[in-house]
Amino acid sequence: MNTIIFRTIAPFLVAIMVVFSVFVLLRGHNEPGGGFIGGLIAASAIAIYGIAAGVSEVRKALKIDPLAIAGFGLFIAGLAGLLSLGAEAPFLTGLWTYFEIGNAKVALSSVLIFDIGVYLVVLGTISAIALALEENEEGE
């Protein structure tokens, strides 16, 4: 697996995949996509980087423990649900605000915060598992 072609191409591939995962996350509300699949794409980017550059390199690049990322995701997803307490609505009710930047109308919602939380949970857990598996292989 660890050929020079792969090692050269990997960083570019990883960058494209991470950007694409964010794009998939953001378009996910009404079109195919969303936090879960976006998180999977980002986690596979991290796994690819792990294969190419080694696990310790990835951990250095991430700076944060992947499981901490997952914890943060779960935390903000829960907070997004709690927002509806102020709106006299049940837990996890979607709240929307709209504002305009120039000619574009931008919709912001608690659903998006929840989805970002899902993205981070999936990214964190899957990359933690992937890195642990790759670490085992390196050890052998």
Binding site: D65, A68, G71, F72, L74, G78, E88, A89, P90, F91
Partner: protein, 537 residues
């Protein structure tokens, strides 16, 4: 022509909740949300070990306060519901809490608090970094969610949450024995969850809904054959989760392997969720399936009641023996399930409450005994009476409570169950219940005499002092015996003054047998379809 008429008169049923939700309604969901958020926060801050314990204990205390308020509210006003995201049930996922849900969740939170205090005596920094507190809170979230949810698929999700967190807890420490236990535990629980998932598919295919209140309405008109098959599948799945005979082997093979505090947490919380799910699905949702399965449930109850204490009698490993006591309790609840009268269900629901507190306390005492004697072999534990009389009292009280002797909490559910059996002339179950108490006393006092009554070492050397015993340190006394005593005090207190518990259990049994109030709390009414018809005409 016809289609035009339909167009004119078509009135879509409402899909959204239009009433404002007051902050007081949030009591239903807050215990789960708080535990989940706190668990996430602790997972994030895993590497900073300081303050984690205090934070976790404070969160669990807050959850207890909320659950007490919720229970009082339910006792006063009836079952409470909240449906997420403003969607009307059955579209939205409901949390519907009645008396048994709230009281079991409360008992679970109390056990968790006691375990968190207990563990302060010997938790290592490495275990905090591993994420112990985060996992405990995650498990509490899963257990409370399972007790409180009003949606079957959501129940499955909480089962998964419990499974994930219990996996992390059972292998904490990483000894070979623990991995062996974890594999048995994990494999059989995965299998049970898969059966449950298959049953969910059948339920959705048959009734088109997974909302519990909605199922309770629809199941009345569902065909009997498929319903009975679903009931049997659920009985197998939850029976495995609850460790009922003959699918109980995983429990004594795994529960003695982790840290004693983790054993207490598992013994107090996990099997009870399986038992609760049996009561909820077979009594409330599909009473006709339960009736069909009644002879089978009776056989399972009798076998579990009698074989479990016999298993305990043959054990020389202390915590394995306690595992068998735990299984015997599952038999008592199954006996209640086989006699779904007011008394039988009241007895079963108090039994679960009692068993959560008692089994957890028993595992905690066992942990202290193992710490003192440095072994898990009851033959080598002799002489602890001299070393710590307090522990011998705690142990004996708990054994009597498990066996159902007065004046402890365990007596009342047994009494109610036996009364229920006599009322129905179900003599087999009555005999099995009495025999279970009898055998449990024998097995328990055998352990007690080995560990406490015998002065010293095993066999002929019983008069020789057991020099392997290490006295408990001050820390062990404060964080070991004191929290366990809280549970024992609760057991004795409710045993001496059982009125509040028995009153609550009557309400619980009535809500299980006649779920109208439960259904109405979600906003579904039994005659919804007729109302819609009137509007459209």
């Amino acid at each position: 022509m016809e289609t035009e008429i339909v167009k004119e008169t078509l009135v879509l049923p409402k899909a959204m909740i239009e009433v404002a939700t007051s902050a007081a309604d949030w009591l239903v969901i807050l215990p789960v949300v708080l535990a989940l958020l706190a668990s996430a926060l602790l997972l994030m801050l895993r590497s900073t070990t300081r303050g984690q314990a205090v934070f976790a204990i404070l969160v669990v205390m807050a959850i207890i306060v909320i659950e007490v308020q919720l229970l009082l509210k339910i006792l006063e006003l009836g079952p409470q519901s909240m449906t997420m995201g403003k969607w009307l049930p059955p579209f939205g996922i409901s949390f519907s809490v009645d008396v048994i849900g709230a009281s079991f969740a409360l008992a679970g939170a109390i056990v968790t608090l006691v375990v968190l205090l207990y563990v302060q005596a010997d938790i290592a920094k490495r275990e905090v970094k591993y994420g112990f507190y985060s996992l405990v809170l995650l498990m509490l979230a899963g257990v409370s969610g399972a007790f409180m949810t009003g949606d079957l698929f959501n129940l499955y999700v909480w089962f998964e949450v419990m499974l994930i967190s219990s996996f992390g807890l059972i292998i904490m420490g990483g000894r070979k024995l623990q991995l062996d236990g974890a594999i048995k535990y994990g494999f059989l629980n995965f299998l049970a969850t898969s059966f449950f998932l298959a049953a969910l598919g059948f339920i959705y295919g048959l009734m088109g809904t997974l909302n519990m209140a909605d199922i309770a309405i629809v199941a009345a008109d569902a065909p009997a054959g498929p319903l009975a098959a679903i009931g049997a599948l659920l009985l197998l799945a939850f029976g495995m989760k609850a460790a009922a005979f003959p699918v109980n082997a995983w429990l004594p093979a795994s529960y003695h392997t982790p840290h004693p505090a983790v054993s207490a947490l598992f013994g107090g919380l996990l099997t009870k969720v399986g038992v609760y799910a049996l009561l909820r699905t077979l009594v409330v949702l599909m009473p006709s399936a339960r009736e069909f399965l009644d002879p089978l449930i009776t056989i399972l109850a009798v076998a579990t009641l009698i074989l479990a204490p016999l298993g305990a009698l043959s054990q020389i490993n202390l915590r394995r023996a306690i595992g068998f006591f735990l299984i015997g309790g599952v038999g008592a609840v199954l006996a209640g399930l086989a006699m779904p009268s007011m008394r039988g269900l009241a007895g079963a629901s108090i039994y679960v409450f009692h068993s959560m507190l008692t089994i957890a306390a028993l595992y905690l005492v066992a942990g202290l005994i193992e710490r003192m004697s440095g072994t898990d072999d009851t033959r080598k534990m002799g002489g602890i009476y001299n070393a710590s009389s307090m522990m011998s009292i705690l142990f004996l009280v708990l054994i009597f409570a498990i066996a159902g002797l007065p004046p402890f909490l365990g007596f009342w559910p047994k009494l109610l169950l036996i009364e229920a059996g006599l009322g129905q002339a179900d003599s087999v179950l009555v005999v099995a219940l009495v025999l279970n108490s009898f055998l449990t006393v024998i097995a328990g006092t055998r352990l007690w005499s080995h560990i406490f009554w015998r002065n010293g070492r095993e066999g002929k050397n019983s008069e020789q002092l057991n020099d392997r015993l290490k006295p408990l340190s001050k820390k062990d006394k404060w964080f070991g015996i004191a929290p366990t005593s809280i549970l024992v005090v609760l057991i004795v207190w409710f045993g001496l003054f059982p009125n509040s518990v028995i009153d609550a259990s009557r309400t619980a049994a009535a809500d299980l047998l006649y779920p109208e109030r439960y259904i109405q709390s979600t906003g579904l009414a039994l005659d919804v379809e007729e109302d819609d018809l009137e509007v459209s005409q």
